[in-house]
């Protein structure tokens, strides 16, 4: 059974069709990368899955059959879906620790939070910075903190929107290692990224979007050899 099924999803902004009957299925334990040029509809896809944008047609279902297009953002999050935004979205007026505390979500009992926070702090490597205000972190640190925030709730489906945008090579490598370490049999991860080396390093399969449609789905190696993908990425 799939962890996430996107079925014939269509999103329209005014006269612009951002997603045109896009379908995809992600298995539990899989790391799926969605790639495509600017305007392909990648971020819109994540917006629909996380409930920020409502589609005009199509369904998004979780493994247990919950239709996410009918849920509020908070309800989707409580169903085990977490999203890391493209622009690092942390709460600048709160410390790293407080950000992670909120990241634990409303469901986790307050007694269990300190332990969870400590373990996440360790995973993302920000333990020494726990009392620093998030607004004062460096860009890379903010990215990791946000990954930590979405991890703290132990999500079943993790959505990562360009986690290495604007990072140095060393930071990118660190992030790739972090994401590989996040793989679990009961967790599906959906990554949007431009950086092909990074995608190759973390993804099991890739889906290529172009102008709101699915162009290719399969292995990264296969994508590199696909004529249409090459044309879209290199042709123009």
């Amino acid at each position: 059974m799939s962890a996430l099924v996107v079925d014939a999803l269509t999103v329209v902004f005014g006269r612009f069709t951002a997603l045109d009957a896009v379908s995809l299925a992600v298995d539990p334990g899989e790391v799926r990368a969605v790639i495509g040029p600017n305007g392909a509809g990648k971020t819109t896809l994540l917006d629909v899955i996380s409930g920020i944008t409502k589609p005009v047609a199509g369904r998004v279902t979780l493994g247990d059959g919950l239709d996410l297009t009918q849920c509020s953002e908070a309800a989707i999050a409580r169903a085990g879906v977490r999203r890391k935004f493209q622009k690092p979205s942390v709460f600048p007026a709160l410390t790293v620790r407080e950000n992670l505390e909120i990241g634990c979500g409303p469901a986790l009992a307050p007694r269990e939070r300190p332990a969870r926070i400590s373990s996440v702090l360790g995973e993302i490597g920000l333990a020494p910075r726990a009392a620093v205000l998030a607004g004062r972190l460096a860009h890379g640190e903010k990215q990791w903190l946000e990954i930590g925030m979405v991890l703290a709730a132990e999500p079943a489906l993790l959505l990562l929107d360009e986690p290495v945008a604007g990072l140095s090579d060393a930071e990118t490598a660190h992030t790739a290692a972090l994401i590989r370490a996040l793989r679990r049999p009961d967790r599906a991860i959906l990554v949007i990224e431009h950086d092909m080396a990074f995608v190759e390093a973390v993804a099991d399969r890739v889906t290529v979007l172009h102008e709101g449609r699915t162009l290719y789905e399969g292995s990264m190696r296969g994508a590199r050899g696909d004529a249409r993908v090459i044309e879209v990425f290199l042709g123009r």
């Binding site: 509020s72 007026a93 909120i102």
Partner: protein
């Protein structure tokens, strides 16, 4: 406690202790209690006592707005509505109480040619019922308006403008004479408070002391709230509401709860204010007055409970003094003050004193 130890403690335990470690709020709470005690022991001239009590009521009102604006990012330009609800219900209680004791109907009832108080005034001569009713009505109005707004994600400038329209419409409504609430003359001539004659030195002092204690309680309570886990969620919601929602929190519920709480605190301020000025009329619902509340908070220091208190006391103190001394100049001074604060001191006068802690400065 040594400085280093305190810092270490703060680092270790985080916000919980930080909440209680706000010297400005602690100082203001202490000042309120000390002033209350001083008034009881050696009351100065009644007009001074009265002025102090009124300032304290305005400070409570300012704290209520700072709670939603400074910590939740919701600027209400209609908080005068909740203040007025408290004030009107309190005035109704005072008149009903007076009528019950003296048997003389209030002026406006006689003016309208009615034989008795309107039916919905029943029971308002009981102080506890009136008190609860004021809070309940303010909470209910806030709930309905907040639910409609927050559910459909009306926020930012939109929300401010609609809240301003709300208070404006309420003002038009209260100017009507057939509401049973005094029409454009409002309600005045309160004879008694808990059976004692209004305006006697004891009542004046008692009211001022009660208002100061209420201010201390509201300040301390609000400080505990903003320092708690809920308070951290408020800051999170202010800075990035979508992010908070996608972490599983219902921001609608959070905003609605704090919004209603803020409305009830504003109503409390109204309850305490009206017996001290001895009158309430629809002018308290003028949109300009509601904007002025925001001005107090902005001048004192947004997102800083102590700032709201200082702003309210400073602006209203100046107003008491200047609108008598040079009434022509006051509007110019006020508008100049607003522009100065908005342009030069974005975090209010507390910027001048350098009292703003770094953890809040980063929020802007």
């Amino acid at each position: 406690m040594s400085g280093t130890l305190r810092t270490a403690l703060a680092r270790q335990t985080g916000p919980a202790t930080r909440a209680l470690r706000d010297p400005l709020v602690a100082g203001l709470v202490g000042l309120c209690l000390a002033a209350a005690a001083a008034l009881l022991v050696a009351p100065p001239a009644p007009y001074l006592v009265n002025a102090l009590g009124q300032l304290a009521a305005f400070a409570i009102l300012a704290v209520s707005l700072d709670l939603v604006w400074g910590y939740l990012g919701i600027l209400s330009l209609g908080h005068g509505l909740f203040f007025a609800i408290g004030g009107y219900v309190c005035a109704m209680h005072l008149l009903a109480h007076g009528a019950a004791v003296t048997g003389v109907l209030p002026d406006f009832v006689q003016f309208m040619g009615w034989k008795s108080l309107p039916a919905y005034w029943a029971g308002l001569d009981h102080a506890a019922y009136a008190f609860l009713l004021a809070l309940a009505v303010a909470g209910l109005v806030a709930f309905l308006f907040g639910l409609a707004s927050f559910r459909s994600r009306v926020n930012g400038v939109y929300f401010s403008i609609i809240s301003q329209a709300l208070v404006y419409v309420a003002m038009l409504l209260m100017y009507r004479n057939d509401t049973g609430l005094g029409g454009n003359n409002g309600m005045t001539g309160f004879p008694l408070l808990f059976g004692w004659p209004m305006g006697s030195p004891g009542v004046v002092t008692g009211l001022a002391v009660a208002t100061l204690m209420a201010l201390a309680a509201v300040l301390a309570g609000a400080r505990l709230l903003v320092g708690s886990a809920v308070g951290r969620r408020m800051l999170a919601c202010r800075d990035d509401e979508t992010r908070l929602r996608t972490l599983g929190y219902s921001t609608t519920r959070l905003k609605l709860g704090i919004w209603c709480l803020s409305a009830m605190i504003a109503a409390l301020a109204g309850i305490l204010y009206v017996p001290q000025v001895g009158i309430i009329n629809p002018r308290v619902l003028a949109p300009d007055l509601s904007i002025e509340i925001a001005v107090w908070v902005a001048i004192g220091g947004l997102g800083r409970l102590g700032g709201a208190v200082i702003g309210a006391v400073l602006v209203n103190g100046l107003k008491f003094w200047l609108s008598a001394a040079m009434p022509e100049a006051w509007p110019f001074i006020l508008s100049g003050l607003v522009l100065l604060v908005v342009l030069v001191l974005p975090n209010g006068l507390l910027d001048l004193a350098g009292l703003r802690p770094t953890w809040l400065r980063a929020a802007r």
